[in-house]
């Protein structure tokens, strides 16, 4: 993974000092509160319902054990012993004091981490496929590109006061695990169909929030060397032309929509043509320098199967059940990537205690070349574990309460903090996730239902990605009470689709029953091998509508 050189090191250190100074200037009155607020946001500090919140960047979701241990320490020393992993591959602490934040930033800098641009109207933490470097369907590891973008976007003099936040995601694989179509800029690494040259396809204008949109292609193929100049051209068009009169219309997706894709593309290409590419782009040696950090670890040459692993599976049905669900095939024989679920049945999605972080850090160090990943599904991944080590890893996870076998299943629920923490929330989301998780806690039942992604947001901002959940749940306020809208058919993969509203909002305590009935319709109607989301796409909403409120489904059954 990437390691800071002297320049990166000095950069984060000076940035900490700068933030310390900003707090001091706010106290002295040199900065007004209106001026200070965007500055603290650009450093990941929010004021939430009960306390400040600090959002720590985990660039493209990659961490080492030392970093995770430091996060555990910060959690204990400055928080309440736990942190929350988010869909944006960040970590959030819910209880830090503003006066402690500079000290926390120093601790982060000690392990090459920071909070730079994890919020605010600037280019946010870059996200990438959490199976980068592992997946067999990968053209190229997206992390060198992501790291280049991380550096280029940090404290960018021209693009630090944008109309609105700006999110960039990179994938290097055919199967999109980075939801590039739901980002302001999505980058897909691909081979040129004719020449075989590796380059980028650039998508612009995706986003969720109150006006969800799927990103559109602005450039089919961009040579790798031109990346930064092309990004600068897009950012400049957005910075100059993006709306600033209404913050709900300020995202680039609205600009692309209002300008039209073609005129937007022309504006970007015109700006790109004028830019002096060679003076802006990273030279190939710099790209190579970064890429070298992501060279594959020293894998052993192993057979594709392992007798001890098979024996452990045979001996322990629980282990086999977990392995069936939480393993991801590694491109190197004899290895697997494994998902550490942060979704214990009935637990808070994405939360991990400091002790759990230490357990995972130890496992990563001992069994996974000192590397781990944060996924946009709010789970962790040990990317390179030998098959022969899996049983030992699993046993350690069991002891730490981290061995829930539900990756990609109905209890692997994404939920934003909602009204339990978030000042913008209109309703809670975590308790809804907990009640659904409890209802569907049985492993056999989850396996029978198969892949099903439930995503829950506590307000229209859609931090829980509800629009692209196979089942999306949006918490709103209706007549002074929490109320939940259910959408079906959303998809965050390369077949990106937005969910469609099933009907009027229902009460929180009615949600598990409604989900139960929706799932029952699916189980009844599905053809063999058909996933929930595919069944919804095939059937449409019709058969599911009565399930929302439990209205009689007799006619429907008769009609068949």
């Amino acid at each position: 993974m990437y390691r800071y050189d002297e320049f990166d090191e000095r950069f984060v250190r000076e940035r900490v000092k700068q933030f310390r100074g900003q707090v001091e200037r706010r106290l002295s009155g040199a900065l007004s509160d209106d001026e200070f607020r965007p500055l603290r946001l650009k450093n990941g500090v929010y004021l939430q319902l009960h306390a400040y919140m600090l959002r720590i960047a985990v660039p493209y979701g990659t961490l080492n054990s030392r970093q995770l241990r430091q996060l555990a320490l910060i959690g204990e020393r400055y928080d309440r012993g736990y942190g929350h992993f988010t869909t944006r591959q960040n970590l959030q602490f819910n209880w830090p004091k503003l006066k402690d934040v500079p000290d926390i930033l120093d601790l982060l800098a000690d392990v090459e981490m920071h909070c730079i641009q994890t919020s605010g109207n600037c280019i946010r933490n870059v996200t990438a496929d959490h199976f980068a470097g592992i997946a067999a369907d990968e053209v190229e590891d997206p992390r060198p590109t992501s790291e280049l973008i991380r550096q280029w976007s940090s404290l960018h003099p021209e693009f630090s006061y944008l109309p609105r936040k700006f999110k960039i995601a990179v994938t290097g694989a055919a199967h999109d695990r980075a939801a590039v179509a739901a980002h302001d800029i999505g980058i897909r690494i691909l081979k040129h169909p004719q020449t075989g040259e590796v380059g980028y396809r650039i998508f612009v204008g995706g986003g969720l929030g109150r006006t969800p949109m799927i990103a559109k292609t602005v450039r089919d193929f961009l040579p790798k060397a031109d990346l930064l100049a092309y990004l600068e051209a897009i950012m400049r068009v957005y910075n100059l032309e993006g709306r600033r009169d209404n913050k709900y219309k300020a995202r680039v997706k609205i600009l692309v929509h209002e300008m039209g894709l073609e005129p937007f593309r022309e504006a970007v290409e015109a700006e790109f043509a004028k830019l002096d590419g060679p003076s802006v782009n990273a030279d190939p040696a710099e790209a190579a320098r970064i890429a070298a950090y992501f060279a594959p670890p020293a894998y052993e040459t192993l057979p594709a199967s392992d007798a001890s692993y098979e024996a452990a599976r045979a001996a322990s049905p629980d282990f086999a059940r977990w392995a069936d669900v939480n393993l991801f095939p590694h491109k190197v024989p004899g290895y697997a990537a494994l998902t550490i679920s942060l979704k214990p049945i009935g637990g808070v999605p994405g939360d991990a205690t400091s002790e759990q972080m230490r357990v995972v850090a130890d496992l990563a160090e001992r069994y996974s070349f000192d590397e781990l990943r944060v996924t946009h599904r709010q789970n962790l991944v040990l990317p390179h574990v030998k098959l022969s080590d899996l049983h030992a890893v699993w046993q350690a996870l069991v002891a730490a309460g981290l061995a829930t076998a539900n990756d990609g299943l109905i209890t692997d629920i994404i939920a934003c903090p909602g009204l339990d923490y978030c000042a913008l929330a209109t309703a809670r989301s975590i308790p809804i996730a907990q009640s659904i998780s409890q209802r569907f806690g049985s492993y056999e039942r989850q396996r029978e239902i198969g892949p099903l992604e439930i995503k829950i947001s506590g307000c229209i901002n859609a931090c829980g990605h509800h629009h692209v959940g196979h089942i999306g749940i949006l918490g709103l306020e209706k007549s002074g009470q929490e109320s939940y809208q259910v959408t079906l058919g959303g998809d965050a993969s390369e077949d990106a689709a937005l969910g469609v509203l099933l009907g009027p909002g229902i009460k929180g305590e009615e949600v598990p029953d409604a989900i139960e009935r929706i799932v029952a319709v699916y189980l009844r109607e599905r053809v063999p091998g058909e996933r929930f989301v595919d069944a919804v796409k095939r059937l449409g909403l019709g058969p599911f509508k009565p399930a929302l409120t439990g209205a009689p489904t007799r006619e429907l059954a008769d009609a068949h």
């Binding site: 209106d34 319902l49 009960h50 209880w95 002074g480 009470q481 929490e482």
Partner: protein, 109 residues
């Protein structure tokens, strides 16, 4: 940001976060308190205006941010309870972590 632009129905209390810590506090007779039971209750125009002045003054002194009035019902024990569920959560803590926030801290003390 000093004072809420719109005044809620009365009776009301003044809720805020301390600037340097972020802790939820209420305006009491002698200053800011973490305990909602101590909160001053404004039940008329003059009382609400007095609280709004405290909000502005507390903000100007860097004591608090995000100070605003919250309409409350007075419980049988005399303790003001916000009418809106959002503000109730704010006076308690995360509903999913009863071991954290005021719901835990005030019980302990």
């Amino acid at each position: 940001m000093a004072a809420a632009p719109k005044r809620p129905p009365l009776p009301a209390i003044l809720i805020a976060n301390t600037f340097l810590e972020g802790e939820v506090v209420f305006r009491a007779a002698g200053g800011w308190t973490p305990d909602p039971a101590q909160a001053l209750v404004a039940s008329d125009e003059a009382g609400a205006e007095a609280l709004e002045r405290e909000a502005a003054a507390g903000f100007a002194r860097n004591e608090v941010v995000d100070a605003y009035l919250v309409d409350v019902a007075i419980g049988t024990d005399g303790v003001p309870v916000p009418r809106h569920f959002r503000e109730r959560f704010k006076t308690l803590g995360p509903s999913v972590r009863p071991d954290l926030g005021k719901q835990a801290e005030l019980r302990r003390s």
